[in-house]
C-alpha cells in the first residue's frame, strides 16, 4: 500500500494553465496520476491537452470528484489557493510553490487546523509526493524510483529526496511512497505525520528519513520513533558543517544559537534507535542492509 495517495486519487491542478503547472501536470498524468482538472478563473471551459479547466476548485470537484489538489500558483496567490481548495472539500493539498512568506504559511496552517480538520496539506516549497508505479503529484522525476516497497521515504530536502530514491533504485529496492515535506518553517505535513502513516501501512517495512539543520522537527520525530515506531528507520541529516546563523538556501535550513544543529538531531535520532548515515550514500547502504535483514 501507499500512503496519502494512490492510482485512484483524483487530482485538480491549481495553476495548470501556467508554464510550470502545465509541464508537471502533464508529466504527472504520463506517470499515471489521475489529473482530472485544472483551474483558472479566466480560462474556464478551455482545456490543457484534454484536461478540463474550471473557474475554481469547487466547480472542478463538483464535475470530477477530485479529492486532492496540486498548487502551482505563484507565491502571492498560494494562501488564497490553499483556502479555496480546503473550502471546496479537498482532502489532500500539495503546495509545490516556493517563496511563500512565513506569515502566510503560519496563517493558513492554523486556519486549516482550526476550520478544516479533514484537509491535510503537504508543503509549501516541496517536491510533492510519489507512490511509485501508482501516482506522482509534484515535480519528482518519473523514472528515478522503483515501485513496490518495502521502503517509505520522508524528506525535508528536494534533491536529497531524489538522491534517496535513486540510491534505493540502484540497489533494486522499491518504495511504497516518498513524501517530500519541504524545507519551509511551517510545513503542512510533518515528519511525524508521515512516520505514523508508514508505521500503519502494512506494505511499508522500513523508513528512510532525510532531515536538515534548523528547527526541531527531527528531534520531535526522534521522540515519535522512540515511542511509536516498530519499523526500522535510517536517517541522514544534511548540514553538519553549516556555520551558525547562515541561511543555506532553504528558509528552514538555518542554525540559531546552537539549536537545531545536525549533531543534536543525529544524537536524538540515534538515541531513538534509528541508524544514522553520514551522507546520502551511507544512508542508502544502511537501508539496503535493513531490507536484506527483513
Amino acid at each position: 500500500m501507499s500512503i496519502f495517495i494512490d492510482e485512484t486519487t483524483k487530482v485538480v491542478y491549481q495553476g495548470l494553465t501556467g508554464s510550470q503547472g502545465r509541464y508537471y501536470g502533464l508529466l504527472n498524468r504520463e506517470y499515471g496520476t489521475q489529473v482530472v482538472a485544472g483551474t483558472n478563473p479566466k480560462k474556464a471551459g478551455t482545456d490543457v491537452d484534454g484536461i478540463p479547466v474550471f473557474a475554481n476548485v469547487a466547480e472542478a470537484v463538483e464535475a470530477t470528484g477530485a479529492t486532492a489538489s496540486c498548487i502551482f500558483i505563484p507565491a502571492p496567490g498560494v494562501q488564497a489557493a490553499v483556502l479555496e481548495a480546503a473550502e471546496a472539500g479537498i482532502e489532500f493539498i500539495v503546495a509545490i510553490t516556493e517563496g511563500v512568506p512565513a506569515q502566510d504559511e503560519a496563517y493558513f496552517y492554523n486556519k486549516l487546523k482550526d476550520e478544516f480538520p479533514n484537509t491535510q496539506m503537504l508543503g509549501p516549497n516541496c517536491p510533492g509526493i510519489i507512490s511509485p508505479g501508482k501516482a506522482n503529484i509534484g515535480i519528482t522525476a518519473n523514472h528515478i524510483s522503483k515501485p513496490g516497497g518495502p521502503v517509505g521515504i520522508v524528506s525535508r530536502s528536494g534533491t536529497l529526496t531524489y538522491q534517496a530514491l535513486w540510491e534505493l533504485k540502484g540497489n533494486d529496492i522499491g518504495v511504497t511512497t516518498c513524501v517530500g515535506i519541504g524545507g519551509d518553517p511551517v510545513p503542512g505535513t510533518s515528519f511525524i505525520d508521515c512516520l505514523r502513516a508508514f508505521e500503519a501501512d502494512p506494505e511499508t517495512k522500513a523508513v528512510m528519513m532525510i532531515g536538515e539543520i534548523g528547527g526541531s522537527a527531527e528531534e520531535e520525530a526522534a521522540e515519535f520513533i522512540k515511542d511509536h515506531m516498530t519499523k526500522p528507520v535510517s536517517v541522514y541529516i544534511a548540514g553538519v558543517t553549516a556555520p551558525p546563523g547562515k541561511k543555506m538556501g532553504h528558509a528552514g535550513a538555518i542554525v540559531s544559537g546552537g539549536k537545531g544543529t545536525a549533531a543534536a538531531k543525529m544524537e536524538a535520532l540515534r538515541d531513538a534507535g534509528a541508524l544514522i548515515g553520514n551522507n546520502p550514500t551511507e544512508c542508502g547502504v544502511l537501508m539496503t542492509e535493513i531490507v536484506a535483514a527483513l
Binding site: A102, D114, I144, T159, A217, N279, P280
Partner: protein, 382 residues
C-alpha cells in the same frame, strides 16, 4: 534580511511604536547637526550587523557638540568583530527607570507565533532564559486569532512589569505584533523596552529581521538589500541571483538543490577537506547559471579546486553536461574541476563530458569519490 538598528527603529516608528528622536548619518558634521536638532545629551551608536557594540566602543554618550564630534569620528570606521562602521545613529538620550524585553517570532515547533516579555531587559535574553527562565513570560498566538488587547494585558501582568508601565506596554505590544505580522517579519525584538521616570514606555533598541520572501508585498524592503552583510563573493553571487554562502575552505562547491549543496559541503568535510562556499544553482543547470556560478567561484582566491555535484531529476544528464561544457567555454577557470553527475540520463551526460576530460576537468562516479578527488587536488595546489 536583518535590519540595522536605525532601520528597525524607522520600521517600528512606521507602526506607531515610540522610539527616540534621531537620525542616521555617515559623517561627523551631520552627526553634530542631528545632535543640535534633537538636543543634548545624545547617544552616538554604531550601525553594524553584530552584537557587543557597547563593549567595542561603538556606543557613546555625548553631552555637547565637541563630545559628539569626537565620538562620531571615533566610531565611524571602527572595526567591530570584522564589521566596519559606515553608518552611525544619533539619538536623544533617554532617562531610564526600568528596562524590559519584548519580542515576537515564529515557534516552528508549535507552529504558532511566540511572544516573549520579561521585566529583566537590557541584558542578553539568552542568559535570562538560562539563569532565570521564569522571568520570561511566553505566550503562543494563533495567527488566525491574533493578539487581543485582553491577552496582551494579561501577558503584561504575568510578566510582572511595573504597573505604571502596563498601559504603555500593552499599546506597544499590540503595535509590535501588527508590525511583526503585517510587516512580514521573522523576528521583532525590543531590548531594552524602557519605562521612563515620567511614566512613558519606549523602544530604546530595535532588532528586526524581515522575511525576504515577502518583498513582493513590501517593495520598499528592496532598500535594505544595500546594507545586508555580504562579503565580496556573496555580493557578486547575489547580483547574479545565486544562492551562495561564503565559507572558509578551499574547495569551491556547485550543486543543484539546497539539500544536496549542504550535503556536498558535509561530504567534503568528511573526507578531510573544507568547502569554500555553499552554492545552490537550483533545479535546472543551464549554461547561463553554470557560467555565473563558475565565475563567482573562480574569483575566490582561496578556491583551489571545484566540485560540481549535480543530480539530474527532471533536468536530464545531457542538458546538464551541455550546460557545463558551454559554461566552460565562456569562463576561464583557474582551478581543476571534478564533476559528479548522477540521476536521469547520467550516462548520456557523462558521455558528452568524456571528450573534454583532462587534468583540469575530471569526473567521478560517486559523491564521496568526487569529494575525495577535489580535496586531494585542493591540497596539492596549496
Amino acid at each position: 534580511m536583518d535590519l540595522l538598528e536605525y532601520q528597525g527603529k524607522q520600521f517600528f516608528a512606521s507602526y506607531g511604536i515610540p522610539v527616540s528622536d534621531g537620525a542616521a548619518t555617515d559623517n561627523v558634521d551631520e552627526a553634530v547637526a542631528i545632535a543640535e536638532r534633537v538636543g543634548y545629551p545624545v547617544v552616538v551608536k554604531a550601525q553594524v550587523h553584530t552584537g557587543g557594540r557597547g563593549k567595542a566602543g561603538g556606543v557613546k554618550l555625548a553631552e555637547n557638540a565637541d563630545e559628539c564630534r569626537t565620538h562620531a569620528g571615533n566610531i565611524l570606521g571602527l572595526d567591530i568583530k570584522g564589521h566596519i562602521v559606515n553608518i552611525i545613529w544619533v539619538e536623544k538620550a533617554s532617562d531610564i527607570a526600568e528596562e524590559y524585553y519584548a519580542s515576537f517570532t515564529l515557534d516552528r515547533s508549535a507552529k504558532k507565533h511566540l511572544g516573549m516579555l520579561s521585566a529583566e531587559g537590557g541584558v542578553e535574553i539568552e542568559s535570562v532564559a538560562e539563569t532565570n527562565p521564569d522571568a520570561i513570560a511566553k505566550i503562543h498566538i494563533d495567527p488566525v486569532v491574533g493578539l487581543t488587547e485582553a491577552a496582551a494585558r494579561d501577558w503584561v501582568t504575568t510578566a510582572k512589569l511595573n504597573p505604571a508601565a502596563t498601559d504603555g506596554a500593552v499599546d506597544i505590544l499590540l503595535k509590535l505584533y501588527t508590525a511583526y505580522t503585517e510587516g512580514d517579519a521573522d523576528l521583532v525584538e525590543i531590548n531594552p523596552l524602557i519605562l521612563k521616570p515620567t511614566g512613558e514606555v519606549h523602544a530604546l533598541d530595535a532588532k528586526v529581521s524581515l522575511d525576504g520572501n515577502a518583498i513582493y508585498e513590501h517593495p520598499d524592503y528592496e532598500q535594505y538589500e544595500a546594507t545586508q552583510p555580504r562579503d565580496e563573493r556573496e555580493q557578486a553571487a547575489f547580483e547574479k541571483g545565486l544562492q551562495y554562502v561564503g565559507l572558509e575552505g578551499s574547495v569551491g562547491v556547485i550543486a543543484n538543490g539546497a539539500g544536496l549543496a549542504m550535503s556536498t559541503v558535509d561530504v567534503i568535510n568528511q573526507v578531510g577537506g573544507n568547502a569554500a562556499n555553499f552554492l545552490d544553482i537550483g533545479g535546472g543547470a543551464n549554461a547561463d547559471v553554470m557560467a555565473g556560478a563558475l565565475e563567482v567561484i573562480n574569483n575566490d582566491p582561496d578556491v583551489k579546486s571545484i566540485f560540481i555535484n549535480i543530480f539530474g531529476g527532471i533536468t536530464r544528464g545531457e542538458e546538464v553536461a551541455n550546460g557545463i561544457v558551454e559554461a566552460m567555454k565562456r569562463v576561464k577557470i583557474d582551478s581543476p574541476i571534478v564533476i559528479r553527475l548522477d540521476g536521469t540520463n547520467a550516462e548520456e551526460g557523462r558521455a558528452i563530458l568524456v571528450p573534454h576530460l583532462d587534468d583540469k576537468l575530471m569526473m567521478a562516479d560517486t559523491m564521496l569519490e568526487a569529494a575525495g578527488k577535489s580535496v586531494e587536488l585542493a591540497d596539492s595546489r596549496r
